[in-house]
Amino acid sequence: MEIFNVLRQQWPWYIAGPIIGLSVPLLLLAGNKMLGISSTLRQICAMCFPANIPFLKYKWKDQLWKIFFAVGLLLGGFIGGVLLKPITMPQISDATIKDMRLMGISYRENILPAEIYSWAHLLTWQNLLIVVGGGFLVGFGTRYAGGCTSGHGIFGLSTLQWPSLVAVVLFFASGILTANFILPLLLK
């Protein structure tokens, strides 16, 4: 099946970008929902470990759509990554592959580098700092900032909200500095 093989390859940005953008009007049409994925983390905390914290005591039952959306993301990962498993490795720029090799990271896996993200290698202090420390900052920082790449970057910017522009500029700048200057220190 030709179409099947096309779907399995990496999708070009000019196909993927518009589909991602269309999630904004689709969510609005489906019930005035605003795209935002980091708030699913708050939702899970509120449902599972509220611990009498005021910020986690809200009517989470009214926000159950977030859980359905998050389960959709899991399902999307399964369909895209397992059922439509890519045949070839995505094309990453040679310069990036070379830089990663200098840091001891090889491009053998499609998504996550085995030298950091594997059960065999996770338990070094550097890798724990990257995965656990970094993951903690993703959860802490996005809630503190009131949104992430989707809520501020796509929804906020496309609805012309200046606070989102402030957030996007800062988290992008901070990501650039971290990836270029902090990550190499941890990996070398």
Binding site: A16, I19, G21, L41, F68, G77, I111, G134, F140
Partner: protein
Amino acid sequence: MRNFLFLLIGTLFGITLLKADAVSWFRMQEMFRFQGFQMFGIFMTAIPTAALSVFLLKKFKIKTLDGKPIEIVKKEFNWGYVYGSLLFGVGWGLTGACPGPIYVQIGSGLTIAVVTLISALAGTWVYSYLKPKLPH
């Protein structure tokens, strides 16, 4: 029934993130080093597509499925946007993942990403606990 729709939109979003390679640690490093166009191309088409769609929804006063007018809640600035974004950027640069891709990675069978998810949940929980004491 309506929730099924949100599941469907999430699924489409997830497949697209995966197929666009936007859940890849390597792709994020490429973006943060300005060595490739894929991620920039995605943002540069996603945002205008969303903006144009919202503009059209408003212009033609299109209603939601249950017949209500489209409402977009304004985000009120507070200094948490600044401190939080700086911290999130560090996490993003290290893990190569923002919240969406973490779910997609797990769905694609990368069980190790559960560690990232649990860490992110811990971060959100600790923020919630400390919120009254933090500058905003």
